[in-house]
Structures are given as structure tokens and as C-alpha cells.
């Protein structure tokens, strides 16, 4: 549906946009290199034919075992032209930092805080980088694949409760 978007991107940033494909449901996706993501987003927002004024979702994925380990996914939508696009940025685990796009869309603020809180990906230039969902005393980044599923860090000392087998799955899966 928005192949023109990807074509315009590839024409403007030839070296940084690669592997455009059509995803499930008709979305057009392209991979963008990590260093130029802020300029690519500013171009996408300000070009009159594209005008992506909204980033409804920015999230991260952890592919543990594959290098680069993380990927930050930007879902973009234009309320003016009614077209969508998706950008994927590969992030290696050794250098897990992506330039922030809060200068382009102010609404990306909380999504980048979520990526930091849950995955540990840093966004240099972000105005207010702190945890969004978890509390400040929490250690670790829970949505990483190597964080245990039941790794609770209680804030209040817990009382002794007689029956302790809880939940499905083996007790020692942690």
C-alpha cells in the first residue's frame, strides 16, 4: 500500500535502507541502519508527500542467540495521507544504543522509556530516561529472553504462606 514510501526512502537514503519487503497484512517494512535513524525519521515526517506525523508504536524485540541481538521496530502512520510504514533497526547487544527520535515525535518519549525499561536499549539524547513500568529498585530488564519468567523482586518482605506450588509449568523453571 505504501510502496511509494519505501521507494522514496530508498532514493533519498540509498545506503541506509535495505531489504524492503511486504509484511503480513499488507504493511511495507524496511530495515534502516542504526546511525541514521533520526534523520530518516525527520525526512519521513517533513517530506510533503510522506508526512508521517504519528508513531503509534515503537517497540523492541530480543532475538537471543542471533547477532545483532535486539531490533527496534518503529510503526509509523500518516494522518494526512493515511498510509503506514514500518522501520526495523538492528541493534547489537554490545552497543545497545539507538539515537532518539523524540526530536521528531514527542510521543516517542514513553516508547523509548519502555524499551529501556524492558530491554535495556539506551537512547542517547532522550530528555527523561527512567523506568516506565517497573519500579526504580528493580534490577535487570525483564523482557529480555535471559531474564527468568518468575524472577520476582519483592519490595515488601513476604509472609510465609503454606502452599507454594503456584502456576503451570515445572516448579524449577525459573
Amino acid at each position: 500500500m505504501s510502496k511509494a514510501v519505501i521507494a522514496a526512502l530508498q532514493q533519498r537514503f540509498p545506503g541506509d535502507v535495505a531489504d524492503a519487503y511486504e509484511g503480513v497484512g499488507g504493511d511495507d517494512v524496511a530495515f534502516v541502519s542504526k546511525a541514521r535513524i533520526a534523520e530518516v525519521c525527520r525526512f519521513l515526517k517533513e517530506d510533503p508527500a510522506l508526512r508521517f506525523d504519528m508513531a503509534p508504536y515503537i517497540t523492541a524485540v530480543d532475538y537471543l542467540g542471533v547477532e545483532p541481538r535486539f531490533e527496534v521496530v518503529y510503526q509509523l502512520y500518516s494522518t494526512i495521507h493515511n498510509h503506514r510504514a514500518r522501520l526495523r533497526v538492528k541493534v547489537p547487544s554490545g552497543d545497545a544504543s539507538v539515537p532518539t527520535v523524540t526530536g521528531v515525535w514527542r510521543g516517542a518519549d514513553w516508547f523509548e522509556r519502555y524499551c529501556w525499561d524492558m530491554y535495556g536499549i539506551e537512547f542517547p539524547g532522550h530528555p527523561d530516561m527512567r523506568r516506565l513500568f517497573m519500579y526504580d529498585e528493580f534490577v535487570g530488564h525483564p523482557l529480555r529472553k535471559d531474564y527468568p519468567l518468575r524472577g520476582r523482586q519483592p519490595l515488601v518482605p513476604e509472609r510465609e504462606v503454606p502452599d507454594l506450588y503456584r502456576g503451570p509449568g515445572p516448579v524449577d523453571r525459573d
Partner: protein, 180 residues
Amino acid sequence: MASELDVVPGIATRREEAQSFFEKVVSNGLGWARKYSLFQYPFVTACCGMEFMSVAASRYDLDRFGAALPRFSPRQADLLMVVGTVNCKQAPILRRIYEQMADPKWVIAFGVCASSGGFYDNYATVQGIDRVVPVDVYIAGCPPRPEQVLEGIILLQKKIQSQPHKLIDRRPLPLFPEPG
């Protein structure tokens, strides 16, 4: 704590548990009064709050049981209804609310998330609020039907009636943990 009191035995075999006739009358009277005038503190966090609202509304009336009036200050309430999921981030808040309530107080765990963590067996959810506060009645369900909630209230009322109540209660107060 009222929720940790033993049930009054029918026949007391030890001298210190024996109640005189007057004490029994007072205990039954106070139990009757306390069970039919529960002031609830609805600690509502999640979807079970919808069922709580429908129990308190006109079709499945909670006012029939005397438990109609919610008090949104813990100082004025005696029944803490924990409705919905409690996170590890929320647990200190729940503990503080419970400690601010005056004796006698009771706690109802409303829904499976409050009873046992529900299906949220993960890094963020307290697996049952009985890990944080002592609980009197657990109402299971996701969310529980209003009839189940009323059954839970009736069970709590039977429990309150069977506890010993005194006019002047000289039990030693529980020690509070140091702040901080």
C-alpha cells in the same frame, strides 16, 4: 489482629478460654453488630472492579447485608476488599493501607489475582495478597459471579459472629515494623 483470632470454642476446656454468660452475650451482640455493618474499603485495581460495582449495585445488592457504604479512608473502614491484581510495585501501598486500618479489621481477597496471583505467574505480580496481608476470605473467580461474592460476604459474616468480641479489649497491640 481480628483476622487471626481463633474461633470461640463451644465448650471451653481451659480456664482462660471460658467466657461468662455476660461475656458470651456481649460477644454475640458485638459480633452481630459488626457483621451487619461492614464498612468496606474497596481497594480496586483491575477488572474485578467491574464485578464489585455490579455487586454493589441494585440487582445483586450489597446493602441487604449491611455492607453498602464504602469508606475511602482506611481509618474509617473495617473491611479491606482487595479487588484485582496486585503488583510488586503496588504491594507496599497495600501493606500501608492495611496497617492504617484500625482493629477489628478483616480482609477479603476478591478474585483469583488477589487470592493467588491468577494467571499472572510472572516477574511483576504478587502471587496472592496473603503474602502481604493476612486474609480472611478468598473469593475465587475471574471475575467471580456476584453470587459468589455474596457467598463470600456471608462466609465472612459467619466468621465474624464466631470470633470473640469484648467491650474493652485489652489484647496487646501488635508491634509495627520500624519505618523505612
